[in-house]
């Protein structure tokens, strides 16, 4: 059955516009953003909105396309692939194009939508900032980069988007570069990610040369094309070493980008950027780029790392380590954004774990849901610091009891927290539970229990953060008192850039009249609307793939997950090198075939494009187990927090005023006091402080130190080489050999001595050597 009979539609055909429009928008902002009334932000908003509209259209049409296929034949839904020859060199084509399938559509929608909300949020949050325009330019370019990568039809395009994001993260994290800490954080982030990029370059090369010939022979495609690589990986005649090294190298890139252990240290520091940046880049889009890379080239990793049932592999191990380590770290943070940052890392660990254990769909699903609630949480944090704690992010110093002052923020925060923790029926429940269930179902029992542990910890630290921020008694700025020493307090999380670090900064004035003297209050609509919208989505997004409710609710499974079908290679091939925008029709869906993909080589004349991943059936028992664990985490942590933090206050206020009136309850309270002891001294001292603290120590003292020392030692090595070898040895040899008067001479006299004679020496010496060479040649 032919390719062209499948309905495609304008939006699918022109999905590349989604990435192009923001890029143009970026250029426009740079060009004349400053002159516009809204300082260029309107361009950013407009372009992102346009992208969103097209993405929605594309999504709708993709659904139609899938439906059509399902009605006609339970077959493979061919992605809409288009390619433009960008440039060619030595027979190698470097193309730009689009590769639209369910995964791409889902992420396009997600990225465009979240970018839009974040930009709206930034309108208010950065009002009056001295580099307002630049900020929006960078934000728009970032979205463009991410979209380019999501659309990518070939590896080069993926690299393009990947690096664009890196650049933008550098610009955005270092947005307030007057503060040395910020610029250092920006440098660190870019550099750490760049380390991973070595893997990307090398992996691309390996895979390209591994797949190119095969792709040319069988598909009339080339070794960069994602589709060709997938087919090659599953074709069975790919060299195992190329598969192995290629996938390992690419996974290193993913580690760097997605903040996986051990390269995750840059992510918390990246919180130095403005909060919208944190919420967009470092929670919901950029950091999932690595996960997306793995998901996009899943066949490659499937074969290369042999992600079969039960097979322990690199991705799974890294994922689970990240998950636990990061969660532990989150306990000891006082900076609300850092809690969220570590939680992000931990959730990314979940996704990687899912991908590593064959749970492709749940992982992608988790990307989807996580984006909503994590973005919402970050924006809440931003809202708190913006109007609640006077630009501080320190929960212990400047927060507490804000629930009364900022009800909406608090409410949305709590809902999102529950979603993140995974409370039924909020989105987190479904996605996380599916990952865990599939991990178990695919035979990774140990990993499954570790994942449960992670869920417990997630619930616990989020509860702690919630309590510290919104409950208890107000402290510091939350209590309305003005203090400025919080600059020094927290090097990274502190983006109190505007108010007195730079008196000339318009931001300061903006806030001076904004909420200069009076204390915390609820934020404005521009900030609240995005938060509310996100929270709403965070609570319902789970139903897009709610396995418990049966087939009808497994929307993502039907529309997003590629079908593991064997696909016939059409005889009438269209060449991929065709004219502009020619769509590639080299593959034809055919009737249902046995799902051997990923386990056996496809028969002659056909290819596989996706391995047959298994899906765990939902078991309520497991569901309730998960719920129980999460609940336990929430409750225990909550009680502990109350005990811990309010006890301190009680010390200040004194016991008797509060308890003397109720004599008969004294004992009970006294016991409660024991409970305090129990909670604090036993449970938490045991769990939180030694373990988590040691993990944090490991993080700061070892990993971080390694990164730093790596940098410094290279520099020292550089200095050493420069001083001793370059200047002394090589140079010295030259000097000594009389070509130049030795620079490290005694006085001027011997240094400069007798240039004429040395010309002579040079002349005759060269002549002699030349003669020798000539003689030797002629002999």
């Amino acid at each position: 059955m032919g390719v062209n009979t499948i309905p495609s539609g304008w939006f699918l055909e022109n999905a590349w516009l989604i990435a192009l429009i923001p890029a143009i928008g970026f250029a426009a902002i740079i060009a004349f953003g400053k002159k516009l009334p809204m300082k260029g932000s309107e361009i950013g908003l407009a372009s992102i909105t346009a992208s969103l509209v097209i993405s929605v259209g594309a999504a709708v049409q993709w659904i139609q396309r899938t439906n059509f296929v399902d009605e006609t034949t339970e077959g493979y839904v061919e992605p809409v692939i288009k390619t433009w020859t960008w440039w060619q060199s030595g027979g190698v084509e470097f193309g730009l194009g689009q590769h639209i399938d369910g995964l791409a559509v889902l992420l396009l929608l997600l990225v465009a939508f979240i970018s839009l909300l974040v930009q709206i949020f930034s309108l208010e949050y950065l009002r009056g900032d001295r580099r307002y325009t630049h900020f929006f330019a960078a934000l728009t370019l970032f979205s463009s980069g991410m979209l380019v990568m999501v659309l990518a039809e070939n590896m080069v395009q993926i690299i393009l988007g990947w690096e664009l994001m890196g650049l933008c993260s550098f610009l955005l994290i270092g947005h307030w570069w007057e503060d040395g800490a910020n610029s250092r954080a920006a440098l660190k982030a870019f550099f750490t990610v760049r380390v991973g990029d070595v893997g990307l370059l090398v992996g691309t090369a390996i895979v390209f040369f591994g797949a190119h010939q095969w792709a040319v022979d069988n598909l009339d495609s080339h070794g960069f094309s994602v589709q060709a690589i997938s087919a090659w990986a599953l074709s069975g005649d790919a060299s195992s070493s190329a598969l192995l090294w290629g996938s390992v190298a690419l996974f290193i890139a993913a580690i760097g980008k997605s903040g996986q252990f051990p390269l995750h240290t840059w992510l918390p520091d990246a919180m130095a950027g403005p909060t919208p940046v944190s919420s967009l880049l470092h929670s919901s889009t950029m950091v999932v780029a690595g996960v997306f890379l793995v998901a996009r080239l899943y066949p490659l990793f499937w074969e290369g790392l042999s992600i079969g049932p039960g097979a322990i592999n690199l991705i799974a191990i890294i994922g689970v380590i990240t998950l636990i380590v990061a969660a532990l770290l989150a306990f000891v943070q006082n900076d609300i954004k850092k809690v969220l940052a570590y939680s992000t890392v931990s959730q990314l660990g979940y996704m990687m774990l899912g991908l590593g254990t064959g749970a492709w769909l749940p992982a992608v699903f988790h990307i989807f849901t996580h984006a909503f609630f994590k973005c919402a949480l970050f924006l809440c944090a931003g809202s708190v610091s913006h109007s609640g704690s006077h630009h501080s992010f320190d929960m212990k110093k400047d927060m507490g009891g804000l629930a009364r002052k900022m009800p909406i923020t608090a409410g949305t925060w709590i809902i999102s927290t529950l979603a993140l923790a995974g409370i039924f029926p909020l989105s987190g429940f479904f996605s996380k539970d599916e990952i865990i269930a599939n991990v178990g179902y695919n035979g990774y029992n140990l990993f499954m229990w570790l994942a449960f542990l992670g869920a417990f910890m997630t619930a616990a630290y989020m509860a702690r953060a919630t309590y510290l921020t919104f409950f208890g008694t107000p402290r510091g700025a939350a209590a309305g008192e003005h203090h400025d020493e919080h600059h020094g307090d927290d090097a990274h999380g502190d983006d109190a850039h505007g108010d007195d670090a730079h008196g000339d900064d318009a931001h300061a004035d903006a806030h001076a009249e904004h909420h200069g003297s009076h204390g915390p209050h609820e934020s404005g609509p521009l900030i609240l609307v995005p938060i509310v919208v996100l929270t709403f989505l965070a609570s319902i997004a789970g139903f897009t793939n709610a396995v418990p409710f049966g087939e009808n609710f497994e929307i993502l499974k039907r529309y997003v997950e590629p079908r593991a079908e064997v696909v016939a290679i059409e005889d009438t091939r269209l060449t991929i090198a065709g004219g502009p925008g020619q769509s590639v029709g080299s593959l034809a869906p055919q009737a249902k075939y046995d799902d051997a993909c990923g386990f056996a080589a496809p028969p002659e004349g056909t290819v596989c494009l996706f391995p047959a991943v298994s899906h765990a059936p939902f078991k309520w028992s497991k569901g309730f187990l998960a719920l129980g664990i999460v609940g336990a985490g929430l409750v225990s942590s909550w009680l502990f927090s109350v005990a811990l933090y309010t006890r301190r206050d009680r010390r200040l206020v004194g016991l008797t005023e509060r308890f003397a009136p109720a004599r008969w309850g004294y004992q009970f309270l006294w016991n409660k006091y024991y409970l305090d002891h129990l909670y604090e001294k036993v449970i938490v001292r045991a769990v939180a402080y030694p373990i988590a603290a040691s993990a944090y120590w490991f993080n700061q003292k070892v990993l971080d130190r390694i990164v730093d020392t790596a940098g410094t030692s290279t520099r020292q090595a550089g200095e050493f080489v420069y001083r001793n070898i370059d200047q002394t040895l090589v140079d010295g040899a030259v000097n000594a050999s009389g070509f130049v008067a030795s620079e490290t001479g005694h006085a001027l006299q011997p240094v400069q001595s007798g240039k004429v004679n040395q010309y002579g020496a040079l002349l005759f010496g060269a002549a002699a050597v030349a003669a020798i060479v000539l003689v030797i040649i002629n002999v």
Binding site: Q752, G754, V756, G760, A761
Partner: protein, 99 residues
């Protein structure tokens, strides 16, 4: 007699001259060393004119003699001028004048 005798003698003289040019500090001495080199060349020319039965070699030797005379004249004149300007003809001190 063997042609090599002349040629090797010339080579030796040449090398000595080279050494002088490189090693000497006094401009006049350098000029003398150059003379050594020139003479060795002329010796070669004459020897070749004997080997290949033609007088061209000798003619060139004569040319070289003339050139050498000219060269010494000009060279010494320059040395003189330099000496006049800066009371010294040490080449290394000369080399600081450039730039």
């Amino acid at each position: 007699m063997l042609a090599v005798n002349f040629l090797i003698l010339a080579a030796v003289l040449f090398s000595i001259g080279v050494f002088g040019v490189i090693a000497r500090r006094n401009a006049v001495m350098v000029l003398m060393s150059v003379e050594l080199v020139l003479n060795s060349v002329m010796l070669n020319l004459v020897a070749f004119s004997q080997i290949t039965d033609s007088i061209d070699g000798q003619l060139f030797a004569l040319f070289v003699i003339a050139i050498a005379a000219a060269e010494v004249g000009v060279g010494l004149a320059m040395v003189l001028m330099v000496y006049r300007n800066r009371r010294s003809i040490a080449l290394d001190e000369l080399s600081e004048m450039k730039g």
